[in-house]
Amino acid sequence: MASIQDIQNDIIEEFDMFEEWMEKYEHIIELGKTLPLIDAQYKKEEHIIKGCQSQVWLHAEFQNGNVIYTADSDAIMTKGIIALLVRTFSNQQPSKIVNANTDFIDQIGLKEQLSPTRANGLLSMVKQMKLYALAFQSKNTNAC
């Protein structure tokens, strides 16, 4: 599995091809459409992260030392960004996730999507992803 950093670099390269915001947005929208949906059983109240405008559902599982995330949103743009976040964080070790940053969102020109004042639930989702990773990490450490 490639490292978080590698994946993020790939994404940055991928977006470098687009000059216009419109192409970027279209790509995000495509990504949103291809996001492997969260299992229906997890798409309920306790997995919801409320933004004022769009909602996000997030589920995390611990498998073979790695965290597996699945997620969904009711807005397609939000879903596209989620696809990118899942791509970089899913299937990685908890400690790597906890320490990773999300600067690549900024670097591909979508900084405003992760702004603390943008009410789309994404920033809370990133926080929640890290909290899951932290939880699994400490579980793991205890086991040793």
Partner: protein, 404 residues
């Protein structure tokens, strides 16, 4: 005929580019831009008059007090209130409603009822929920029909001698519905209930006469009517303002203070504790004078034509779904495009330099009733043009094609 180009020219904020496009500002229901005259009034206040008001004997203090009080009188005249002390300055409508809802805690008892409608802004729901929680009174809800108009039969059926207060907006910010408030005021009075009108969306578009309406309370927010942020006003009938207890405690609102006993000042000071937003208050008058120079009749007429144009043009778009289609409507077009998420549409419109609001517009019960996550809302002001509408229509088409 209004010269809209000339009016537009007075708004510096409208003359900027957003993401490389000339700004189209259609978020006036949230807040309006300010004409240069209002901005100048603030600047002039700070350059020539700034001082703390009341109680001061020196010249600047007198100047500032006179300017602030002139604004109160101006609002009194504008709403045709009987007395200037029936005008209480607040931060905005939210505070005005909280002031009344807090005061009514001393009136309400278990078993009493407060009536609000399904199409209220959260500001006209939550304070009443809190007052009901504190007193054991019960909240009753006027339902709406599928067009977003209030069901008046249901309203009349809800009224009884248990009803202590009715709180309803003049125009709904989420749907644009103009409510039949005269009928509602009279009906409320029939059962001896007080009635509060939330005029947030009405004051920028209609002329209001609180004596003719016979409203007990009427609230306005400056920032939605070309005045600064952080200033608004509560009109209350003298008898009600005398009846309910003060809201905040502090300087200005007292006559005498000792640790044994504090006596409260007369109206309006009883409800105005602490140093207010003086600059905002002073410039509120400038905004109202400015509005009156154009004339609310003229504004209503122009905006209603533009609203019609916008409705027609947007309806051309396949999948366009108007949310809120009451027979009496003003200022606002709320819509969906098929099932596209309003947030997605808003994001793309933004990149095209078009500012609209998306979401539940602080009126979640309305969205729940329509079973939608929110709407895209274009809301008009006097400086908007057909060109703005055309840009919006193009933008929505573009968004639709990108998202579908």
């Amino acid at each position: 005929m209004l010269n809209i180009a000339k009016i537009r020219a007075q708004f510096p904020a409208l003359h900027q580019e957003v993401h490389g496009h000339p700004l189209v500002y259609l978020d006036n229901g949230a807040t309006t831009q300010k004409p240069q005259a209002v901005i100048d009034a603030i600047q002039q206040y700070y350059a020539e008059q700034n001082s703390n008001i009341h109680r001061g004997v020196h010249y600047l203090s007198q100047l500032a007090t006179d300017a602030y009080e002139a604004s109160r009188t101006c609002i009194q005249k504008h709403l045709n209130a009987q007395h200037s002390h029936e005008i209480i300055f607040t931060r905005g409508i939210t505070e005005a409603i909280n002031l009344v809802a807090h005061g009514f805690r001393s009136v309400l008892k278990i078993g009493d009822e407060i009536i609000v409608s399904t199409i209220e802004h959260h500001s006209n729901i939550v304070p009443w929920q809190m007052a009901c929680d504190a007193t054991g009174a019960k909240l009753q809800i006027i339902p709406m029909d599928e067009n977003g108009a209030l069901k008046m039969d249901a309203f009349h059926a809800l009224l009884s001698e248990k009803t202590k207060l009715v709180a309803v907006n003049h125009i709904s910010n989420a749907l644009g519905t103009i409510n039949p408030i005269k009928e509602m005021i009279d009906a409320a009075h029939q059962v001896g209930a007080a009635i509060l009108i939330d005029g947030a969306q009405a004051a920028p578009h209609l002329s209001i006469d609180v004596q003719e309406l016979d409203a007990d309370f009427y609230c306005i927010s400056g920032h939605k009517m070309y005045a600064p942020t952080g200033i608004g006003a509560l009109y209350g009938k003298e008898k009600w303002l005398n009846k309910i207890p003060p809201y905040q405690g502090g300087g200005e609102m007292i006559a005498t203070v000792s640790f044994e006993e504090t006596t409260y000042a007369d109206l309006p000071h009883k409800f105005e504790a602490g140093t207010p937003n003086i600059a905002g208050g002073v410039a509120f008058k400038t905004a109202i004078d400015w509005l009156n120079e154009i004339g609310l009749e003229n504004i209503a007429q122009y905006e209603s034509k533009l609203l019609q144009y916008a409705s027609e043009r947007l309806s051309e778009i396949d999948g366009f779904r108007l949310i809120g289609n009451a027979p009496q409507k003003a200022g606002v077009i709320s819509f969906m495009i098929n099932d596209l998420h309003p947030y997605d549409i808003g994001m793309i419109l933004d990149k095209l330099g078009i500012a609209v609001r998306t979401g539940h517009h602080c009126a979640q019960p309305v969205m729940d009733a329509f079973c939608i996550p929110g709407t895209v809302r274009a809301s008009l002001a006097i400086y908007n043009t057909k060109d703005d509408v055309d840009r919006l229509v193009e933008g929505v088409k573009k968004a639709k094609s990108m998202l579908s």
